[in-house]
């Protein structure tokens, strides 16, 4: 059962002002080099398209393990359930995890039974992490208990496998709702809360992420448990990725600057991080053509 009746209120004006501060921090030289490598290590390299094929997934997985230029491996790859087996084989022997979206991604509008079977399929093919979507329709209709129950049921099924609950914050309509959904998912047992599916216009933003991290911070203070955060969708440049690291650092603290507790879900971000990494190493921008494409 839901353990608390309401969540703290959020005010947009100061929230957005604080979020804007994170992008004003300036990381230079050795600080920038360290931050770029950390960002790479926190990436969930993602392909979630109807046209995903084994070849595409294998190619992406190879890049996830060896991004090139001596850069570290990313944290995980994120694929549809059908591609879990292919991805597992492709990253075998590396530190890269395989995450699978499940639970009728991206809408989440199927019966709980179907969602659990979807999750089960991904688990049986060896998924290390499950990125589930919450039921936004139920949430907006006021049925918080249903949302809670679904998250709890998926987590129960997954056991020790890491569950990331996707809020699809862009559909929730207000920062108050995002805070409420965050609290709800954490309370229901989600290991990580994730901003977005990447399938709608509004994906991760700094203010949305700030609300969610405030929820994680409050949960930590209440229970002592470290829960994770994943920003996904729309993060394409190193500069933006570094702003997220600043946010995590200043709101959650150093413990969270770790792929166990922070992820950046992205497909093209890695290319820009590699570009900036080379620029920091050599002092000049390489041609984008030398960055490996998957």
């Amino acid at each position: 059962m839901l353990s608390f009746a309401s969540s703290p209120v959020v005010d947009a004006v100061m929230l957005e002002a604080r979020a804007a501060d994170f992008s004003k921090r300036s990381l230079k030289r050795e600080a920038k080099r360290a931050a770029i490598d950390l960002a790479i290590r926190c990436i969930d390299l993602t392909t979630l398209e109807g046209k995903d094929s084994p070849g595409k997934v294998q190619s992406m997985c190879a890049k996830a393990v060896f991004p090139g230029f001596g850069a570290p491996s990313v944290a995980a790859v994120c694929v549809y359930p059908n591609m879990v087996a292919v991805a597992k084989a492709a990253v075998a022997g590396s530190s890269v995890k395989v995450a699978s979206v499940a639970t009728a991604f991206p809408s989440g509008l199927s019966s709980l039974d179907v969602k659990l079977r979807d999750t089960e399929a991904a688990l049986s093919d060896g998924a290390d992490e499950i990125d589930m979507v919450i039921n936004r329709g139920a949430f907006l209709a006021g049925d918080e208990q249903l949302v809670y129950n679904e998250v709890a049921a998926v987590k129960r099924l997954c056991g020790d496998v890491h569950v990331k609950a996707i809020l699809e914050a862009g559909e929730l309509g207000s920062y108050d709702a995002i805070r409420r959904a965050s609290d709800l998912c954490l309370d229901a047992g989600a290991d990580t809360i994730k901003t977005s599916t990447g399938k709608i216009g509004i994906s991760a933003t700094l203010p949305i992420s700030l609300v969610m991290c405030q929820s994680i911070h409050a949960f930590y203070q209440r229970t002592g448990e470290h829960r994770g955060f994943k920003a996904a969708g729309g993060i394409r440049t190193s500069k933006v990725a570094l702003s997220y690291l600043v946010l995590i650092d200043e709101v959650l603290g150093g413990d969270w600057l770790d792929p166990d507790l922070f992820r950046l879900g992205a497909s093209s971000l890695l290319d820009d991080l590699l570009l900036q990494r080379e620029k920091e190493r050599t002092g000049r921008y390489p041609s984008p053509d030398i960055i490996p494409k998957d």
Binding site: V9, R25, A34, Y220, Q221, G224, D260
Partner: protein, 502 residues
């Protein structure tokens, strides 16, 4: 990615209070703004379109409070210098500025606004060097806001008849004498110069003793903009020059921003005269946080309210009135938030808290803080190390503050907040108004009706609801009671510079 979940905070961290500050924290390398400020070795007064030495030949040093380094030497203003400047302003008024068509006057003011924007980076560096404020603030607040004031008032220059009530025709007054403080040197100069010029007056400005450089740079900008000689005059110096200007019989209006003590002296000196005065003086603003407030937002508002510009802000939210039921939570969160604030080199783009403007001000802050401790309040400060040289004071707050303590009544003008509690809205209002000042106030609640009710009962010139320290050139700003009178900004800020046909 399976992780163990400790049963309680203490199992893993031992510190359930706040984000973990481990060695894993992100390192921000020093990131200094590198634009040169191009400071000359010395400056004279700017009188009649020329830089001229003091009549007495004396100069004084202006220093960088973050390092103690001498930045330049400027002329020490004498009563004779003020005479010369007022005479130049009078000549320029009669000869150039009064006969000029309003549209041409507007064009000059626009030109100044644009030039400030174009030279924004250089002005920000100059301001940070001379004042000690973080480059983040001079770059994102002081300089853009100064430019915005010129843009705003430029628009009024040829529409003055709409500024008057009852169909009376407005006219310029003549020569304006302005004295500005050191906390926002360029911005305060802009607040005076922009409406004065747009309304058709000429002006003599006396910048603060410790921060004359940005006003002198503004003089250069005006010269580059071909502003007719004598329309803007700047006399640098200490209280001698200020007093001479305030008492000068050749000026037609006085606009002063600074301490209540000096403001009172100016008003006393002008009693019985017909010279209109506007005074923007001190404050001890109440920032009221109700238990139903969005607390994360309120913490940001508290931080912005008292730590912006090291608390050198007349409208700073320096008295925090927090509803008793959330007092401990607010203190815990504020303690945690202070640890994310970076104090140090003001030119570093990552610095949140820069240098205290002068040794004298630092001494005053320390003296008041010592009084707070002696009177029984508890001081909490950020733990970050202070730079070894220069004038710095950590972001701090007091708990256990009694209503009679000096730290609850006197303006500290530094990064030090006094926290007190209240139980009901009416008690909050009573405590908030229990001060000789009345410049600003803040109200934090999620309930709109309560916000409006409290705002309406606060005796303060500006009440910010669910935000703090928000400014706009079109919005009037000014005080009640010993915080002064008259407004700056907006239409209300233009009127004091106009005289109406009988």
């Amino acid at each position: 990615m399976i992780k163990s979940k400790p049963a309680a905070a203490s199992a893993r961290n031992g510190n359930g209070n706040g984000a973990q500050r481990t060695s894993k924290r992100l390192q921000y390398a020093t990131s200094r703004e590198s634009t040169p400020a191009n400071i000359a070795a010395s400056y004279g007064h700017y009188i009649g379109g020329k830089f001229v030495p003091s009549s007495g030949g004396e100069t004084f040093a202006t220093t960088n409070p973050a390092t103690g380094e001498v930045l330049s030497r400027v002329a020490t203003g004498t009563p004779e210098d003020v005479d010369r400047a007022v005479a130049a302003a009078r000549t320029a008024y009669e000869k150039y500025w009064k006969p000029l068509s309003p549209a041409r006057r507007a064009a000059y003011v626009y030109r100044i606004a644009r030039a400030i924007s174009e030279r924004a980076r250089e002005l920000a560096v100059l301001e940070t060097l001379d004042n000690g404020k973080p480059i983040k603030e001079s770059r994102d607040f002081d300089v853009p806001m100064a430019s915005a004031h010129f843009f705003y008032y430029a628009g009024w220059a040829d529409k003055l008849e709409y500024a008057a009530r009852g169909g009376r025709m407005p006219h310029s007054r003549g020569v304006v004498g302005s004295i500005v403080p050191w906390n926002f040197p360029l911005l305060m100069a802009a607040w005076k110069i922009a409406p004065a010029l747009a309304a058709g007056n000429t002006i003599v400005l006396k910048p603060a003793e410790t921060t004359p450089l940005s006003a002198l740079r503004l003089a250069e900008i005006c010269a580059d903009a071909d502003l007719p000689p004598g329309v803007l005059n700047i006399v640098t110096g200490d209280g001698v020059a200020g007093a001479a200007l305030a008492a000068h019989t050749g000026i037609d209006k006085i606009a002063f921003t600074g301490s209540t003590e000096v403001g009172k002296a100016i008003q006393r000196g002008r009693a019985g005269s017909r010279i209109p005065i506007t005074l923007e003086l001190g404050g001890k603003a109440a920032n009221i946080v109700f238990a139903d407030a969005p607390l994360d937002a309120a913490i940001e508002g508290i931080v912005s309210g008292i730590y912006f510009n090291q608390g050198h802000v007349c409208c700073a939210g320096s008295r925090l009135l927090v509803q008793e039921s959330i007092h401990d939570e607010v203190v815990a969160r504020l303690t945690e938030r202070l640890e994310t604030m970076r104090i140090g080199d003001p030119l570093d783009k990552n610095t949140d808290i820069g240098a205290i403007n002068s040794q004298a001000q630092l001494d005053r802050i320390k003296e008041l803080v010592a009084s707070g401790i002696a009177e029984g309040a508890t001081l909490h400060s950020q733990t970050a190390a202070l730079p070894e040289t220069g004038c710095f004071f950590p972001a701090s707050f007091f708990t256990g503050v009694g209503p009679g303590m000096r730290i609850a009544r006197e303006e500290i003008f530094g990064p030090v907040l006094s926290i007190m509690t209240f139980r009901t809205a009416d008690e909050a209002i009573e405590k908030a108004n229990n001060t000789r000042y009345g410049l600003s106030a803040g109200v934090w609640t999620d309930k709109g009706s309560k916000s409006m009710y409290v705002a309406g009962k606060l005796k303060a010139g500006v009440v910010w609801c669910s935000t703090f320290n928000k400014f706009d050139p079109s919005s009037p700003f000014g005080g009640y009671r010993e915080s002064g009178f008259g407004r700056e900004g907006g239409l209300e800020g233009l009127r004091p510079y106009l005289e109406l046909d009988p």
